[in-house]
Symmetry: C2
Amino acid sequence: MEKDCGAWINLLSHKVRKRLDATFQDLGITGVQSRVIYYILVHSKEGPVFQRDIETVFGFSRSTVTGLLQGMERSGIILRESVESDARLKRIVPTEKAVCLDAQVAACLRETDRLLTRGISSGQLQLFKEVAAQMMKNLDQWDQGEAEPHC
Amino acid sequence: MEKDCGAWINLLSHKVRKRLDATFQDLGITGVQSRVIYYILVHSKEGPVFQRDIETVFGFSRSTVTGLLQGMERSGIILRESVESDARLKRIVPTEKAVCLDAQVAACLRETDRLLTRGISSGQLQLFKEVAAQMMKNLDQWDQGEAEPHC
DNA sequence: ATTATATCGTTCGTTTCCGAACAATTTATT
DNA sequence: AATAAATTGTTCGGAAACGAACGATATAAT
């Protein structure tokens, strides 16, 4: 029985998350949180980061982002501040605690990526990313269209 | 900012699941359930299927499989029967309802895979799978070893 | 035979994810 | 100016995933 592409991707994704969770357990944050906090740390230097940025960058749904950030606020690694210029928005701000984790988080993410791509040439990796990008495009196109006939 | 491999994979995985969920909504089953029921339908012809088979094939944890199958039993697409020869095991049996869905499920899974791989040559796809396999091996190796230094 | 070990499934609490329905606010239309 | 439409975030219920701790059973070791 041939395993389809989706199954491959799902399985791989689980394993990656599992590894990330284990890696960051000592730091008191989860794998997904590590990615989000890293993004916030990097981009809040350049300008304000809002919830909807997390949505678009990570491809999470609105409600997912809400829950995720609530958890992170509870853990004390971010704050969510109201914005005067637009009352709908909330600015995501990293706390002291998050800034302290910065170097460690970055190192862990790099290390995990190194492990993941062990034994894979940069050329192969490049093609892998290209294929992944194409797949993403395919799914997004369908998502936009939405009107395609169900099978 | 370079997006790391894990992020790519996670994002892609979500989108695939989303698409599968939407596709199977009309049939009253979820995306993951569709994969599992397909596996069961195919393999229960050859011999009994137990929960642990689902574990190994899909890479899910024990508790995940329990919950998944409980949901499927509640939906009436499978039964879980005790086995006389070994009281620990439970045989997973597809119901009438599941058998009726067989062709549709198979078609939907194929269709989703077709959409996913649109615009990707079979050579590229082959390499994609090889890279994914290597990544899986890398993660499994670490999982076995476990003793590697945390970053 | 008894004890130890391994296997299989359940339960519990938690995180991660979604869609749908909602409220509040901003922007566009007219 | 008033109404319509779009954007942002929340809440709710549920599915999908995990680890840890547990009980029951089967197999191995002594």
